[in-house]
Amino acid sequence: MRYLTRRVLVLLLTGWAALTINFVLPRLMPGNPAEVMLARFQGRLSPRALAALTVEFGVHTHQSLLAQYVAYWGHMLTGNFGLSLTYYPASVAQMVAQAFPWTLGLVGISTLIAFILGTGIGIAAAWRHGSRLDGVLLPVSLLLNSMPYFWFALLMLYLFGFVLGWFPVGGGLNLAHQAGGWAGLGAIISHAILPAATITITAAGGWVLTMRNNMVAILGEDFVKFARAKGLPDRVVEFRYAARNAILPNFTGFAMAIGFVVGGALLTEIVFSYPGLGYLLYEAVLNLDYPLMQAIFLFISLAVLVANFLADLAYILLDPRVRAVGRS
């Protein structure tokens, strides 16, 4: 139970930290950046919206810091995230709700494919470690893992979008295709293939590396040698003995990656102008739209937190050793 209490404590503390970062950051910076933002939007917003913003960011307000903090918590707990300055009069919550499904679909599916692909390749490389296949796969995975993935995305976009013209060059859905039904679905998929391929290829490299190393270590264990000596078929030793044990740490990694799906691949979305959360965050940053920026960061953080918490719970079920430690 001690394990569980700790996890809950981390969840609560981190949630508090994420919320507080949003409150503290604009007030911490020399020359409150929110002032610049407010000056820019003077006249473009209703006076009421402006007044709300001055309170929210602590500009020209006579309230004490503590009172501001309490008011801020009140807003957050009641789900009042304010209005987006860029997409005025749309509310920040509306914008986030609109972008979220796009990110979830694109990044979620590609993360899953990358995990399965990378883990499979890692198993194959480890099983033949020291061989020529391993010798080639390793540097390739290292390279994939070490390159700026937004740059790789740019090259893919250029090659397959502009030069070959196989895929649309950006966006989630062309306005012309907003037909709905099968045609609409087809358009969504054709817009998603390039960014999805980019995320899959660049993310798979990391999975290959960790899975390969875990499995090489496991292959040196006595129980694997014994399984071999017993004359078990190679397939059984490779998958049921070695891979099954080696996948445990990778599985935790995967659970974390699922959490990062929400905020992950920010740069890929930006390169492809994909209408997800990453692109929205970028727009918010470019336009000094601090309320939108804060809400997206909060949303991403909380999603990551909850996903991690669930991963920790799953780990209790998967690894009996965690339960044993918790009892002692």
Binding site: L13, P26, P139, W151
Partner: protein, 277 residues
């Protein structure tokens, strides 16, 4: 023995070779670079020619000179950030893990919090609020968001070492805490520390490139990241200036691979279970 294993490791040597190459490039930049990287007096958008081996940018700068000078900032950010991150990991992981008690409780709670904070979004948010753009805020942002994972690894390693016989012997012989940490624990983790250092350097180089590409660095300095920012802004690929867009990325990928290779090789050398059988 370990040193020889490292020197005969092909991956380590490949990584070290690339790193030395870029270090030379950075160190000798004033001698090698044909022009000043900020000179904007050349005809813009030239293809490769004898005068400009890699052509010029849309602003009339020499791409080769920018590429050579750009290695400086990228290397500095990578190495300085990795040093800072390693320092924090050392203190939080090793010291916390060794001392135990409430200090360790607080430090590992802090580690867990930073571990689940989404790094890139946090970096973008902080960088967006920072009013002074440049290398120092970038190093700061990457350090703050990047130390947690390694600290956790070091802490668990320290916990296993702490209960080993030679550490207990040192405690019984009355050596001070600091002495035990510095002379018994740290040397035994040198391999992991070095591997972590290169891992952090890789993380720093990639993060810097990402932040600068978004325009969150100082876009007037010459680094590989800002080169990509301008190349993207001026639509280098559509203008046919592929070398302007492709080469800074290749350099980042190569430098990253060098750090990745070193990280991997050190891990392989110090972890006998990963050695070839």
């Amino acid at each position: 023995m370990t040193l020889r294993a490292f020197l005969t490791n092909r991956r380590a040597m490949a990584g070290a070779g690339i790193l030395v190459f870029f270090a030379l490039l950075a160190g000798l930049a004033p001698l090698i670079a044909p022009y000043s990287p900020t000179n904007i007096n050349f005809p813009p958008m030239l293809g490769p020619s004898a005068a400009h081996l890699l052509g010029t940018t849309a602003n009339g700068q020499d791409v080769l000179s920018q590429l050579i000078w750009g290695s400086r900032d990228t290397l500095i950010v990578g190495l300085v950030t990795a040093t800072l991150i390693s320092g924090i990991q050392l203190i939080v992981g090793i010291f916390g893990g060794y001392v135990g008690g409430w200090i360790d409780e607080v430090l590992s709670m802090l580690t867990n919090i930073f571990l689940v904070m989404p790094g890139l979004p946090l970096m973008i948010i902080v960088a967006a609020y920072v009013t002074v753009k440049g290398t120092v805020p970038i190093i700061f942002v990457i350090t703050v968001t990047g130390w947690a994972w390694g600290a956790r690894v070091l802490r668990s390693q320290t916990l296993t070492l702490r209960s080993q016989a030679f550490v207990e012997a040192a405690q019984l012989s009355g050596e001070s805490r600091w002495r035990i940490v510095l002379t018994h624990i740290v040397p035994n983790m040198a391999g992991i520390l070095v591997a972590n250092f290169f891992g952090a350097a890789l993380y720093a180089v990639l993060s810097e490139a990402g932040l600068e590409f978004l325009g969150l660095g100082n876009v007037n300095t010459v680094t590989w990241g800002t080169m990509l920012y301008w190349a993207e802004n001026d639509e280098a690929l559509l203008m046919g200036l592929w070398q302007w867009m492709v080469l800074p990325g290749v350099c980042i990928a190569l430098l990253g691979t060098a750090f990745g290779l070193l990280n991997f090789a050190v891990d392989e050398v110090v972890n006998p279970r990963l050695r070839r059988t």
